[in-house]
């Protein structure tokens, strides 16, 4: 199990589940085993004890001879009752009983001992375990009274193996369940995440799958789907509103432009009237551009629309645009340089990224005085591509840096400058659309605009 997998909470949960099941089952079965074994042991001991009591009685009544005679009688029935007797002299030589010799390891009296004797059974020799108690008689003779515990041992061993199999099977089942559960959770969460990513990429028509299991995932998916439905409706309304606003504002602008253009074609429109009309035309074009930019921002922020995305080399695009603006910078006496490192592939919309870069560049060229510098940098990092536009112009005060990314926000000192106050907002919208970040930093002196875009997965 890789670290990555283990970090998933469902996998952790599954492992925890298996552990708990293993500990639980094992302790239950162990308890059962221990208790059963003890009951069996007690039973054996009680049988032996009864035997001992009987023999002790015989010994007290009839002396040694009585004991020997009883032992003889009882020994015949060995094999059925499973009783084991041995009376020996102080040196361990057999006097009476049903086993041949004193077992090797034993000589302490009054103690419970266990040993094995061989008995022929079904033509083979089987070692029978025996549990016994040893007594020392006053004459120095020794008496061993025991019972064959083969059946008990067999039972215990069967019980123990049943316990092991049971635990093993339970744990295996638990593990299987755990893996199945964890896989299922991971699969469903993965499916939800994939759908969410697709939706973030702009396909608002996607919905989370409902599997009909009536589980928490279905409940969650249904809620998210309802939310998406609402967002989709709102986006559609917003889009229609914007489209009709665009149409309804552009149509009159267009007619106004047409009228002025038409009037300007009359050769008798001269001097100040011609100038005024040409200025009006330029003003109309400015309004049109502002409207266009606003629509683009709305579109980029809306994200509810499909964007034409392609794999593109941001370095190449930066070089193209720097090349496009090189003569303009030269004319303004500004040194414009481009440091673009190859391999900066991003998944993006070429036109929007170009527009963003142009806005940043035009901004820099507008505020940097002659003799200043503007540098465009593109640098691929581990997972991202960093796009920098740096200048050594007047910069932006720290407290305004976040603010000026909003539409229509302009710095007080720039009020006199031409501009709509939308350029940077469009940049911010485009950057956000590309799931990238934008930061305005102090370039000491000047402004550094740093955008960090996710590097395209298909790039080496």
């Amino acid at each position: 199990m890789s670290n990555e997998t283990f970090r998933l909470s469902s996998a952790r949960l599954a492992v925890l589940y298996v552990l708990i099941v293993a500990v639980g089952i094992t302790s239950v079965l162990t308890t059962v085993y221990v208790l059963t074994a003890r009951v069996l042991d007690r039973e054996v001991d009680a049988v032996i004890q009864a035997e001992v009591n009987g023999l002790v009685e015989d010994y007290q009544q009839d002396g040694l001879l009585g004991l020997i005679s009883t032992l003889h009688t009882r020994s015949d029935s060995w094999g059925r009752s499973g009783a084991v007797y041995l009376l020996s002299d102080p040196y361990g030589t057999r006097i009476a009983g049903n086993i041949a010799r004193w077992p090797n390891q034993i000589d302490s009296a009054g103690r419970w001992i266990e040993f094995e004797i061989d008995a022929s059974e079904h033509g083979g020799v089987v070692a029978h375990p025996v549990r016994a108690q040893v007594f020392r008689l006053p004459s120095g003779r020794r008496l061993l009274i025991g019972t064959d515990i083969l059946e008990r041992k067999r039972l215990a061993s069967r019980l123990s193996s049943a316990m092991w199999w049971g635990s093993g099977l339970s744990v295996a089942l638990a593990a299987l369940l755990g893996v199945a559960y964890s896989t299922r959770v991971r699969r469903r969460v993965g499916a939800i995440a994939t759908t969410c990513e697709n939706i973030m990429d702009g396909d608002l028509t996607q919905r989370l799958a409902i599997e009909g299991a009536h589980d928490e995932f279905d409940e969650l998916s249904a809620a998210v789907n309802q939310m998406l439905e609402r967002i989709g409706q709102q986006t559609a309304v917003l889009r229609t509103t914007f489209d009709s606003a665009a149409h309804d504002l552009r149509a009159p602008l267009y007619r106004a432009r047409v009228r002025i253009e038409e009037a300007l074609q009359h050769p008798d429109v001269l001097g100040s009237s011609r100038e005024a009309m040409e200025a009006t035309l330029a003003e109309l074009d400015r309004v049109q551009r502002t409207l266009g930019t606003l629509l683009q921002i709305a579109q980029a922020e809306g994200r509810g629309v499909e964007m034409e995305l392609e794999e593109l080399d941001l370095a190449a695009l930066a070089r193209e645009i720097v090349d496009l603006y090189q003569p303009e910078a030269g004319a303004r006496g500004i040194a414009l340089i481009c440091n673009a490192t190859a391999g900066a592939t991003v998944h993006g919309n070429r036109q929007l990224l170009a527009q963003a870069l142009v806005n940043l560049l035009e901004n820099a060229l507008k505020y940097v005085p002659a003799g200043g510098h503007v540098a465009v940098g593109v640098e691929p990092r581990a997972q991202t591509v960093v796009l920098d536009v740096a200048d050594d112009g007047p910069g932006v005060p720290a407290e305004d840096r976040q603010r000026i990314l909003q539409p229509f926000i302009r710095l007080e000192r720039d009020r006199q400058q031409a501009g709509s106050g939308l350029g940077l907002s469009l940049v911010a919208a485009v950057i956000r659309l590309h799931r990238a970040t934008i930061e305005l930093l102090d370039h000491q002196p000047g402004l550094l605009v740093r955008c960090e875009l996710p590097m395209s997965a298909s790039a080496g």
Partner: protein, 244 residues
């Protein structure tokens, strides 16, 4: 059309082209009136439709060199009209006019089979230049043509060489591409946005006069030291490469 008009085939004289036939489908009557007038003054024959259904009917009758269709029209929108035409195998160039002007809208328009796209409001000169480009596309220099000549200016794409009066002219890559764009359209007005689209593949209105700076550099390289300039500025429209 050209081959049916004997006047245009008079040998030894420059051909007088028969008027190109345009179809304008535009529901804004005031704008349409002005556009029809302006296009006629530029030498085109123009038919007008005020709604999509009528426009499609006229378009399917054929005989137009270029169709100019508004995106949003009553009854049938511009993209549907293009779709129907293309399905019938009609390849007549279509210029889409749109009041939307977003990046997506442009892409949709071109994907639907449109050949060019213009956002309202636009200058008449821009429309005329684009219509001219579309109408000439059929008989313009083929894509595989590699040598061009305008007056004493020669361009060899394979050798990446430009000469004027036999003298070698050094150009940067972009200047070369810019000149190629002009050489492929001799005598044809190209606007700044057409250059930005055609040479840089950028579709937006630059705030500054960046194209002019590039053109003045190209002009310096091509025309300086020669008595007859070849690159001309067309006021309010753009540029033209022409021997005059």
């Amino acid at each position: 059309m050209m081959h049916t008009n004997p006047l245009t085939t008079t040998p030894g004289k420059p051909a007088i082209p028969a008027a190109m036939q345009l179809l304008l489908i535009e529901d804004d009557l005031q704008a349409a009136e002005y556009l029809v007038k302006g296009l006629r003054e530029s030498g085109y024959e123009v038919a007008h439709s005020a709604d999509g259904r009528d426009g499609l009917e006229k378009a399917t009758q054929g005989g137009y060199d270029v169709i100019i269709a508004d995106r949003q029209l009553p009854h049938l929108d511009g993209l549907t009209i293009i779709g129907v035409l293309r399905q019938k195998g009609d390849r007549t160039p279509v210029l889409i006019l749109s009041a939307l002007g977003t990046v997506d809208d442009r892409v949709h328009g071109l994907k639907a089979g449109g050949d060019d796209y213009l956002t309202k409001p636009f200058a008449l000169a821009e429309l005329v230049a684009r219509v001219e480009a579309l109408s000439r596309r059929g008989n313009a220099g083929a894509a595989e043509q590699t040598r061009f000549r305008v007056a004493d200016l020669e361009m060899d794409l394979l050798g990446r060489r430009v000469t004027r009066s036999g003298r070698n002219i050094d150009l940067t890559t972009k200047e070369f591409q810019l000149l190629e764009y002009l050489m492929r359209r001799p005598g044809q007005v190209v606007t700044r946005t057409m250059l930005l689209e055609g040479v840089w593949n950028l579709h937006f209105d630059p705030q500054t006069n960046i194209i002019d700076v590039h053109m003045s550099r190209l002009r310096n390289a091509i025309d300086r030291g020669f008595s007859k300039p070849l690159i001309h500025t067309v006021r309010g429209a753009g540029y033209v490469l022409r021997d005059e």
